[in-house]
């Protein structure tokens, strides 16, 4: 064990400025941030995308990404100013006294090497331990992190274990050299909620046990509430405010912080409807020989929103593929206004195609980057409604107005739009066909909370104005609460239950729904502790 005096300052960042190079010039990413971290303390860094939190987290290790440069300030780590050190000097710290846990474990492990070799690589390189000693310790860490088969899991390759397991192995990798500081960069963002709970618990335990200081970067307030002693809010590369976790949650000072807090509180009163516009009946579907959907029954009431909830791999998006005809079901059918739709896209008439439209998760890749907004929106308008010339242009402008954008956007390319604007254009494209049913596949999950709020409100308003029916696919319970009338819970290709939102969210729950709902982090800093107690970990 290294000499770790409690309460002495480990890391002190003073007036740090970082610039990044893009579009032919240098942009300020971090504009003079101060940060202090004591030994054994966990600091939460929170902010939206572009706030500079990852850049700051990496800078805490003295590392800047390619294309970035430090233009001012100090990074004092245990008395050494890292901004004045060369890379080869800093390498003695990296993977030794400071380690990093990345967002996507799946991409951050080298596919060519066994997990245990990667876990212990830096420890052995730094000469901290001999190989067999490091291996034994790694296995002990796997065990402490609740990984299955801790003795043998290290012999596997990254693609042979699940995402949640990889994330824990990456935590083991970060702990292996017994560092003074770990930077966690959105380590659970890519995970399902039920997996996230286990990973959060494992990470929190291990950081506490070893008394390691940590910087925990996330955009999710309720997650940081479980992990951090202190929270710092960042925006546009500047500090908004900083306070102890409990105090920050109870009484945030700045308006911006309050707005971050309020997003999760949108609630939509549910409405019943007897008319069913779309029905999925007894559907079984396969990918090759893999049975993806098992006897799926879903009803979509007219003018209402049905949220499809479930974790990745539960078959939510496959349901959308069956409804739109992209995937032919083996058994069962899809009925639109009580008439059976041809199972495959090819068999459907133009009219049938027009009535069901889709909006996708990644607005970025769902649009042709070489087409202007006009091209993108006008294509379905001319294809389905046969509009041309001035009428078509009028229709496009009308659609833009519906999504709260003005005529000036008409000649822009997707690359000239923000994330939220891109998603709005995708919504306009779906509306251009005059649909009756719109399937929204995780349309807000790639967006920041505040932008999410705007999109959800827009979708709500459009539903009212145009009497649209939505199937809203999401893994996020807060979004479900904000938009749905009815909820369908899916797990492993089956429907666990369907019902009104109020019924689904009030006990008693089927076992899986219970697990799913209880795993959604809450803003209460004691939530994780209480949950683990209740689950008898």
């Amino acid at each position: 064990m290294k000499n770790k005096k409690e309460n002495s300052t480990l890391l002190q960042i003073k007036d740090l400025k970082i610039e990044g190079f893009s579009d032919e010039r240098w942009h300020k990413i971090i504009k003079g941030v101060n940060l202090e971290l004591k030994r054994g303390e966990v600091l939460g860094l929170i902010g939206e995308s572009g706030a500079g939190k990852s850049t700051l987290g990496l800078a805490a290790m003295g590392y800047t990404q390619p294309g970035c440069r430090i233009t001012g300030g100090q990074i004092n780590f245990d008395g050494v100013d890292l901004t004045k050190r060369t890379d080869s000097e800093k390498r003695k710290y990296w993977g030794n006294r400071m380690t990093y846990v990345a967002q996507s474990a799946a991409a951050s492990f080298n596919p060519a090497h066994r997990l245990i070799n990667q876990t212990t690589e830096s420890t052995i390189r730094a000469g901290l331990k001999k190989q067999n000693e490091a291996f034994d310790e790694a296995r002990a860490l796997y065990d402490a992190l609740n990984l299955p088969n801790p003795e043998t899991i290290g012999e596997r390759y990254p693609h042979q274990v699940s995402g949640g397991q990889l994330q824990r192995i990456m935590t083991a990798m970060a702990m292996s050299p017994n560092p003074d500081l770990i930077v966690f960069d959105e380590p659970t963002t890519a995970l399902d909620v039920t997996t996230q709970v286990e990973v959060l618990a494992a990470m929190r335990d291990i950081v506490k046990t070893y008394g390691t200081a940590a910087i925990y970067i996330t955009h999710d307030l309720s997650v940081v509430a479980q992990m951090a002693d202190r929270i710092k809010v960042l925006r546009y590369g500047e500090e908004v405010e900083e306070a102890m976790t409990r105090k920050m949650l109870k009484s945030p000072k700045e308006d911006y912080t309050k707005s971050l807090w309020s997003v999760r509180s949108i609630q939509k009163p549910e409405k019943k409807s007897k008319d069913i516009i779309l029905e999925v009946k007894n559907v079984d579907a396969f990918y090759g020989s893999f049975h993806v959907l098992k006897n799926i029954n879903i009803k979509l009431p007219l003018g209402r929103t049905v949220a499809l909830v479930g974790e990745s791999g539960s078959g939510k998006s496959t349901v959308a593929r069956v409804i739109t005809g992209l995937l032919e079901p083996k058994i069962g059918s899809v009925k639109f206004k009580n008439r059976e739709l041809p199972p495959s896209l090819k068999g459907r008439t133009k009219d049938q195609l027009q009535k069901i439209q889709m909006i996708y998760q990644m607005a970025d890749v769902a649009m042709n980057p070489k087409q202007t907004v006009y091209d993108i929106i006008s294509r379905p308008a001319s294809f389905f409604a046969g509009l041309t010339g001035a009428n078509l242009r009028k229709r496009v402008i009308e659609l833009l107005e519906q999504i709260d954008l003005d005529e000036s956007f008409i000649d822009r390319y997707p690359s000239e739009l923000s994330g939220g604007q891109k998603q709005r254009i995708c919504i306009a494209r779906a509306l251009a066909a005059n649909p009756e049913v719109v399937i929204c596949d995780e349309v807000t999950s790639a967006l920041d909370q505040i932008v999410q709020e705007g999109i959800l409100k827009l979708l709500g308003r459009l539903q009212k104005d145009l009497n649209l029916s939505y199937i809203f696919i999401t893994h996020d319970i807060a979004t479900v609460k904000a938009i749905s009338d009815e909820v369908v819970v899916m797990n492993e290709g089956q429907v666990v239950e369907q019902g009104l939102k109020s019924e689904i969210f009030s006990p008693p729950h089927p076992e899986y729904t219970e697990l799913l709902l209880s795993s959604v982090p809450e803003m209460d800093p004691d939530w994780l502790t209480d949950l683990l107690k209740a689950r008898n970990y």
């Binding site: 080869s88 990296w94 380690t99 951050s108 596919p111 690589e121 830096s122 390759y157 990798m173």
Partner: protein, 326 residues
């Protein structure tokens, strides 16, 4: 059965199927060549009956599909038929088996190809790795410029330049690479040095640049950043973290170039008067010696298919997703 074995067998099967189609194409292409061997040998003045008899003797009067199957069945058993050359109007038959004609030439070609490959492949890999490591440096630019220059010149030009400097101005190597079956091994290496260097200069650019690109392409991966943040040095990152994931594209390009060394070196053979299979094929085409042309083409096809098969296998065994399935 391990999935890798299964994939390899599949590829092997596909390779055989490809070979079958290629053999049909070779055969039909030669069928479609204008002119007639009998007429060509016997001359314009020959009587139609004589030509017909001559054609019958060679089996050229049989329908094409029968000749194809005869040829293909023979080829499977290692018999590529009898060469047409050596026959003449007087009826004297000094013709040789195609296999006997091709074998020594093929051995020469393979010897030259191996020698060029033994120099070029390690050189390209090392240069590719070094240029990736010191990318955008002066060294990187010089190597890129140099290799691009040598690949941009026609082969015969490179060959003559080498002859000028290493055979004519400084008499280090012989300018003629005339070898025969009795030439001993050391002498062989000495005499084939210049053609081997020429070929090396011609193929290094392609392999080196692919190695460089394949590695640099991976340097943007999150796991490379992770390796940096775990304290790995530049050399370690390239050799341990990038290269193991870059073998598949590199192997494909190497296979492509090795195949070229076997099938595409006729110009270099001519310049150095080297008795390789390329020259044999060109001669055979000129004299309409169909069995030899077919034999050479078939060997070239086998070379391509085999080398690509090996590249595929390397791609598979260096990919842990395929080697160690879930």
């Amino acid at each position: 059965m391990h999935p890798v074995v299964k994939t390899v067998l599949e590829r092997l099967g596909l390779g055989l199927a490809t070979l079958f189609f290629v053999s049909i194409i070779i055969f039909s292409a030669i069928e479609m060549l204008p002119g007639d061997f009998g007429q060509a040998i016997l001359g314009q003045a020959a009587l139609p009956e004589t030509v017909a008899a001559f054609r019958q003797e060679l089996g050229l009067d049989k329908p094409a599909y029968i000749r194809y199957f005869d040829w293909a069945l023979g080829a499977i058993q290692g018999d590529l038929g009898t060469s047409f050359s050596g026959r003449n109007a007087s009826g004297a038959d000094r013709s040789a088996e195609v296999v006997d004609k091709i074998a020594p030439r093929l051995w020469n070609t393979l010897f030259l190809a191996s020698m060029a490959a033994l120099i070029a492949v390690p050189l390209s890999l090392i240069l590719g790795i070094l240029t990736a490591l010191y990318r955008n440096s002066f060294f990187d630019r010089s190597v890129n410029t140099a290799t691009l220059t040598t690949i941009s010149f026609p082969e015969f030009f490179v060959a003559y330049i080498l002859i000028l400097f290493f055979a004519s101005l400084n008499q280090i190597f012989p300018s003629l690479a005339n070898v025969d079956p009795d030439t001993n091994f050391g002498e062989r290496i000495y005499r084939t040095a210049l053609p081997a260097f020429t070929l090396t200069l011609v193929i290094v650019a392609h392999m080196m640049r692919m190695t460089r690109a394949a590695i640099i392409n991976l340097l943007a991966s999150p796991y490379i950043q992770m390796a940096k943040l775990s304290g790995a040095s530049q050399t370690e990152i390239i050799l341990k973290h990038a290269l193991p994931n870059a073998w598949a594209p590199i192997a494909t390009v190497i296979a492509f170039n090795l195949a070229y060394l076997v099938v595409g070196v006729v110009v270099v053979e001519v310049v150095f008067v080297y008795p390789g299979v390329g020259q044999l094929m060109v001669d055979a085409v000129r004299t309409r010696d169909i069995p030899v042309v077919q034999g050479c083409a078939l060997i070239f096809a086998v070379t391509y298919i085999l080398l690509n098969l090996i590249a595929d296998i390397i791609g598979i065994v260096t990919n842990p997703r395929l080697l160690h399935p879930k």
